[in-house]
Symmetry: C2
Subunit: 292 residues, 2 copies
């Protein structure tokens, strides 16, 4: 069984998201969760299935996303390179990272072939070390990629060496489980958010396995620190929460709430509940093991 967690560049129109979900419904995967965000203007779908069912589902998803979402008119605070922005494949139980790498290649090939959209492989499926990190593929967003795509070192792994006019490009990858986790701060000052993100991210000497960005959320008029926790044993959710809270306190800023995007392995929570994490939604409802 493989988990796929596609990120779509649409988090506002119920109707579009529903039409996309409808298009995928028949492909034989189980949809475990949909998480839409108006500020990010992005939806994260979590589904699981056998490898060939995952291919069918993501190909159907790509078709619907390309039909419904025009990346030229997309507005949202989250960086992205396409209508179907990123498709991570995650091995569960009996499947291996090798399975996911093979699947990412087949899927990338199929998407490029069928829709003429360039595909980049990333994570453990990356074709070079420079492409391993999603952030390097996505650097400068759609315009950044547009300026690099025709250079030989940024030639897509599949499809044409030019962005699709309405769909952009897609990143398809294999990776281990990760937790997407956001903390909302009681400040409108994005500079404070950026300093906190910088203090906690691994790359700048912060917490192990933590990637972090800061966004200003128009709908809340507050700043969010948005994290990926890629090593949940070293940095489980409560540790990330405390670190952000502690850093924020240095600027006299409090934490308003936190939010788990999609589903999480039970051990990522370390028993922390709704109140501990100031979550609106009970984290106990978002445990991956309970949904499968």
């Amino acid at each position: 069984m493989i988990e796929s967690v596609p990120n779509l560049s649409e988090g506002r129109s119920e109707e579009r998201i529903s039409r996309i979900a409808f298009a995928v419904g028949g492909a034989g995967c189980r949809l475990l969760d949909i998480h839409s965000d108006r500020d990010h203007n992005r939806s994260v779908l979590t589904f699981v299935g056998e490898p060939d069912r995952i291919i069918d589902a993501v190909v159907a998803l790509a078709g619907a996303a390309f039909e419904e979402i025009d990346i030229r008119t997309h507005r949202g605070v989250h960086p992205r390179i396409g209508s179907l922005d990123v498709v991570p494949l995650v091995p569960l139980f009996d499947s291996s990272m090798e399975d996911c790498i093979g699947l990412a290649r087949s899927l990338g090939d199929e998407i490029a072939l069928r829709y003429g959209v360039p595909v980049y492989l990333y994570g453990d499926a990356a074709s070079s070390p420079e492409r391993r990190e999603l952030s390097s593929i996505r650097k400068g967003g759609l315009t950044g990629l547009a300026s690099r795509i025709s250079s030989p070192e940024w030639h897509p792994d599949f499809g044409p060496a030019r962005l699709h006019p309405t769909a952009g490009a897609v990143a398809v990858g294999a990776r281990g489980l990760l937790v997407a986790y956001n903390v909302l701060l009681d400040t409108e000052d994005i500079a404070i958010g950026r300093r906190i993100a910088s203090a906690i991210r691994e790359r700048e000497g912060g917490l192990p396995g933590v990637k972090a960005l800061a966004f200003y959320l128009e709908s809340r008029r507050l700043v969010q620190v948005s994290m990926n926790l890629t090593d949940i044993d070293a940095t489980p959710i409560p540790r990330a929460f405390s670190a952000v809270r502690k850093e924020a306190a240095r600027y006299g800023v409090g934490v308003v709430e936190s939010e788990i995007v999609g589903l999480v392995p039970r051990r990522a929570l370390q028993g922390a509940g709704k109140e501990d994490l100031l979550c609106r939604r009970d984290p106990a409802e978002l445990i991956l093991e309970d949904r499968i």
Copy 2:
């Protein structure tokens, strides 16, 4: 080919609506449109398919709706009796009203049997003249129906003579094409809306085939006249629009915009465009014939 236009009592949570759409996606019908309304807290799905595919799709839809929507906590201005509130079946092209009546009965039986939810047949499928109008089944909403359901004359056509605790009841019916059409008024005074609705509805001597209600829309802080046009040859959309505008003018109230819910046969528009009807969305994109 048969058209089905199920109305769900959920118009706010993208995630729930998407999960419901996903559940129906595999059933072999074509989804033509989804229209969600936050104030009504209601979504209208339009799909078409062969009779047996329609049964599969609506049964899947019912299952997902009953799982996702708890009618006890539902809030919204539109009257309703259940999580899956109403399932109209409409003959298109080669199919007849008789086909739809037979299908409504099979579908009602299946929903009641499988989920233990009481089902009322209405419209051309009604088992008695008192049940022909949806408004009489829905009179007093869920509490109204709760008080009548155990009396012999309001025994459901299928299923138990008590409301399902979380799903309520479902109305399944056969009817001809109709147009759901809303006009937003430049007033917060619901009394004016009610007087206009009363002036234009057929039952009180208004326009042929017009049913009308007035709602106060919290999200707009304005009053809406919400209509069903059941005889689009006698009262096409532009005629309904003009009638509301004319009645509103008697109170010195203007029309802010109008809105078509779902899809409409081309002739219902009589060539009227976006500007004529003050629609946000171009009515030319909502023509049923073009989607099939």
